[in-house]
């Protein structure tokens, strides 16, 4: 077995161990509060899973010959791993099982999402051949991973503090957050389904500058380019103007369709109540004070690390590779927005008394900004960054 194969086996192992660990966290929270035996088992499993994933990381490093953080697949997997690390650190301080029941599934979701991208190793273009690449990307991802913990606790806080029997904005927005998460699951399931059924199509079209381009679809084609010529597979149901990337729109559409189906199933068949509400019995087990405190600490620890990696090291590298430390590239701008958003949070909290519910909403919003930078800026807004 070569290194790369070993590496993907280790990743799969860690994924499964994380799943089992989540199961144990579920058992741990079904009982009484505080540390329990199943809680300890769950935490140990999470550590084992993390070690396996660390194994994935280093074997892939050895196999590829460079740090595996240079494309979307590798970066997203690494980000998932850092979320787990962030959780492990916070758990070590607060020993809270409920947190595991939210943080681990979200990390699992991120890792599964990574599996949607092509996983071949790529040789590095010259700009990426730098130690600062390793330092910048790993530190930034670690910071984001720790910040993500505050999303988990923020969510728990909100679910705990919300009365689901009464109509309220919080109730509505919480459900929107849950729906977005369900859409990610939908995207992954739909992706896996079409991979299995093999629904590939290729459509050729003429781009703005007159060049002939092709879209390679992996999902059945709903939206296609204007005047597209079907080279293989099926044609489009709707043609879109060419400034929209018909292939990406198609993927988004399918994810939403998958998400809606899944959501309706959950809401009306499986749970028979609001998805957020179904988390209430879990959320009730963490008291509001603690949830609020953990959120704040996760940000207090995560933000300096993120700023160091995502902005300062990034600037040092940009100065060496592109001769300018800052260039208003969308990815850079969104890293700045991430920082400003959390700075906003800190000041609101300390200076204007935004504690509790408002503060929890900001934690959720911060994670939305991070995910926006990871998903949307990479996929939709093209920039200099290699994984665009």
């Amino acid at each position: 077995m070569n290194m790369l194969q070993l590496s993907s086996n280790l990743l799969l192992t860690s994924f499964i161990v994380y799943l089992v660990s989540t199961g144990f966290f579920a058992v741990a929270t079904s009982g009484k509060k505080g540390p329990t035996r199943s809680g300890k088992i769950a935490y140990t499993l999470a550590i084992i899973g993390f070690l396996a994933q660390l194994g994935y990381f280093f074997t892939r490093w050895a196999g590829a010959g460079h740090v595996p953080v240079s494309n979307l697949y590798e970066y997203t997997t690494f980000f998932g791993m850092m979320m787990v690390l962030g959780f492990l650190i916070v758990y070590a301080i607060y020993k809270n099982n409920v947190l595991g029941l939210i943080a681990m599934p979200v990390a699992l979701l991120v890792i599964a999402y990574a599996a949607m991208f092509p996983d071949e190793v790529q040789p590095l273009i010259p700009a990426l051949q730098s130690v600062w690449l390793k330092i910048h990307v790993t530190t930034a991802a670690l910071g984001e991973g720790i910040l993500a913990v505050s999303f988990a606790t923020g969510l728990l806080y909100l679910v705990h503090a919300t009365d689901f029997n009464k109509e309220s904005k919080t109730r509505t927005w919480l459900e929107i957050v849950m729906f977005s998460l369900v859409c990610v699951v939908g995207y992954i399931l739909v992706g896996l389904l079409f991979k299995a059924t093999g629904s590939a199509s290729t459509i050729e079209y003429v781009a703005k500058n007159g060049a002939k381009m092709t879209h390679e679809y992996t999902m059945p084609v709903l939206t296609g380019p204007e005047n597209g010529k079907v080279l293989s597979g099926s044609g489009a149901v709707i043609e879109l103007p060419n400034f929209l990337n018909a292939n990406k729109v198609n993927t988004v559409l399918w994810s939403v369709i998958g998400g809606v189906v899944l959501y309706v199933l959950l809401r009306f068949v499986v749970l028979r109540k609001r998805v957020a509400e179904s988390l209430k019995p879990i959320a009730r087990k963490i008291d509001l004070e603690t949830a609020d405190e953990i959120s704040y600490r996760a940000i207090a620890i995560g933000l300096p690390i993120f700023i160091l990696g995502g902005l300062i090291f990034a600037m040092i590298w940009a100065q060496m590779a592109w001769s300018r430390y800052w260039g208003w590239d969308p990815k850079e701008v969104w890293a700045l927005i991430t920082m400003l958003f959390y700075v906003f949070y800190l000041h609101m909290r300390i200076q204007r008394g935004w504690i509790g519910k408002k503060s929890a909403w900001l934690c959720v919003g911060g994670f939305a900004v991070i995910m926006f930078n990871l998903v949307f800026v990479n996929l939709v807004v093209a920039g200099l960054h290699s994984y665009a």
Binding site: L4, G63, A64, I93, Y94, P118, E120, V121, Q122, P123, I125, P126, A127, Q129, S130, K208, N209, P241, F243, L288, E289, E293, R297, A300, I301, L303, P304, I307, L308, I312, M315, Q319, M320, A321, W322, S323, Y325, G327, W328, D329, P330, V333, W334, L336, I337, L340, F341, V343, F344, H347, M348, I350, Q351, R352, V377, V381, A382, G383
Partner: protein, 515 residues
């Protein structure tokens, strides 16, 4: 429990010191001061900057669009009406707009003023802290406890706290234990770092602090560097580019390279020599002295004085550097001789063997026919054409012909013709020459900012007050971060001397309210 439900925590942010911004009867300076030191205003500014920055990423900024299309067309053509609006509102240059820079400037002003407003009162208050505090103060702290006991217990706890790193002060039996006061300065340090960083970035406008020039250098070419006032010259000795070869590369990379359709560069670099101008020759050409030679590659700039030379780009299509021609006698088919024309410095005549001469009557680097006349489109040798006059013993006045790529006018009827005998290509390397004396400021600002951030976030300021009054011991605790940490640390010491653990009065109140 009654007591706890009434609990109102004291605002300890500035130790109850008076801030200039909170003065009554303000003058207009006070008013401006109050405005900028208002955190509300600062947060509005941050919010606006977040929104503006987000807008700036909806469509690419002008600097990232293809240079071939003028921006007023590009946005309209590429993104329709929305693009047109984006362009009309000036969002294509958002980050250089006066209002965006204005927002950042106001933010900096706000950070400076707020820091001054709060630092001095806080500093004075912390400096002259009394050991014995009022009941109001003790009961107003978030953490506290009370129990019966005498001063002996306080005496006993002092060394325990000292061991944990607290500084102890005593007065009439009462105790103040304090640690990591410097943690309170974290925000001020990071605000200073931030100001230094942005101030440094703004120094760019000072003449001489910042130079930036993109220089296109052909292989073998030497050009003056304008950014050095033409004191230095740079020669491109050789440009080298290497692509990943899908055939030769390691098997594991094959699939991704095929998906990328080849042309993934592996490395590109320019070997160069730096010259200094030391005077002029009699024909006004610069006299150059070699200073150093070396290489620039991506991530590895070439350096001299305060300058760095970055390998930034290369031209996708190399230019012709030389073209060789053979002079052929069409009757005998014999080659008389061969000449090599350097396209950058073509000669007027080329002397050949046996009394043959070739005159270069006209050179058109970028040949086109306009209105029936041969002419040149640009100075770049991308489609060169030549008007030659071949002088031979048989034709002392010469025979003319126009030769170019797939072009031969008049050549066929002549006795002698010019035939292509090969070309040499030259690569063009785009190097960026940069001097930035503001970088040390940015670096210092960045380090100070990070230091302040870490100090503020990881070193919480902790204090414990103990005092004995009428046979009871009052305990109060303060921390600005990490409540759990304070409780753990304090409780260990408190229980060891038989005192009760700290209560979180805030939490007790909330639980009381909930019931």
């Amino acid at each position: 429990m009654q007591e706890q439900e009434d609990f109102k925590q004291l605002d300890m942010r500035y130790e109850e010191a008076e801030l200039r911004s909170k003065r009554k009867n303000p003058s207009w300076i006070d008013r401006a001061w109050t405005f900028f030191s208002s955190v509300k205003v600062g947060l509005w500014l941050i919010g606006l900057i977040i929104i503006a920055s987000g807008i700036g990423t909806i469509f690419p900024q002008e600097m990232y669009i293809p240079q071939a299309t003028p921006p007023e067309e590009f946005y309209q053509k590429e993104y329709g009406t929305a693009g047109d609006i984006y362009y009309t509102l000036g969002f294509h240059n958002l980050f250089e707009s006066w209002w965006y820079i204005g927002l950042i400037t106001l933010l900096l002003l706000s950070i400076i003023i707020v820091s001054i407003d709060r630092f001095f009162p806080l500093y004075r208050a912390l400096k002259k802290q009394p050991v014995i505090q009022s009941d109001r103060f003790m009961n107003g702290q978030r953490f506290g406890a009370e129990a019966t006991g005498d001063v002996k217990k306080i005496d006993a706890i002092a060394p325990l706290l000292e061991k944990k790193g607290y500084k102890i002060r005593r007065q009439d039996g009462a105790l103040l234990a304090e640690k990591q006061r410097f943690g309170r300065w974290g925000p001020y340090i990071n605000h200073i770092g931030l100001v230094l960083f942005f101030g440094g970035a703004m120094l760019r406008v000072v003449p001489g602090m910042h130079e930036d020039e993109l220089l296109w250098l052909r292989e073998g070419e030497t050009l003056p560097i304008e950014a050095t006032d033409n004191k230095y010259y740079l020669k491109n000795e050789a440009f080298n580019i290497e692509f990943y070869d899908p055939e030769k590369v390691d098997a594991k990379f094959k699939k991704s390279l095929e998906a990328a359709g080849g042309n993934v560069p592996k490395n590109y670099d320019t070997k160069m020599t730096l010259y200094k101008k030391v005077g002029e020759t009699s024909d006004f050409k610069p006299k150059l002295e070699e200073i150093k030679s070396g290489e620039t590659a991506v991530n590895r700039p070439f350096e001299f004085d305060d300058f760095q030379v970055f390998q930034e780009q290369y031209a996708a299509d190399p230019e012709f550097k030389t073209m060789s021609f053979s002079i052929v006698n069409q009757k005998t088919g014999k080659v008389v001789d061969t000449i090599k024309v350097d396209l950058r410095e073509p000669k007027e005549t080329y002397k050949l063997k046996n009394g043959y001469d070739v005159e270069l009557k006209d050179f058109l680097p970028d040949f086109v026919v306009k209105d029936g006349q041969p002419t040149t489109n640009s100075g770049r040798p991308v489609n060169p054409a030549f008007v030659f006059n071949i002088k031979s013993p048989e034709h002392p006045k010469g025979e003319r012909s126009l030769i170019g790529i797939k072009l031969n006018v008049g050549g066929d009827e002549n006795q002698y013709k010019m035939a292509f005998a090969g070309t040499e290509l030259s690569n063009i390397s785009g190097v960026r020459i940069k001097k930035d004396l503001t970088l040390p400021f940015l670096f210092a600002g960045g380090i100070i900012f990070m230091a302040g951030l870490l100090i503020g976030m990881y070193w919480p300021h902790r204090r414990l007050w103990l005092r004995e009054k009428n046979g009871r011991i009052q305990i109060a605790g303060f921390t600005n971060k990490n409540a759990l940490g304070l409780q753990k640390e304090a409780n260990l010491a408190l229980t060891e001397v038989g005192l009760p653990e700290l209560e979180d009065r805030q939490k007790l109140r909330e639980e009381g309210e909930a019931k």
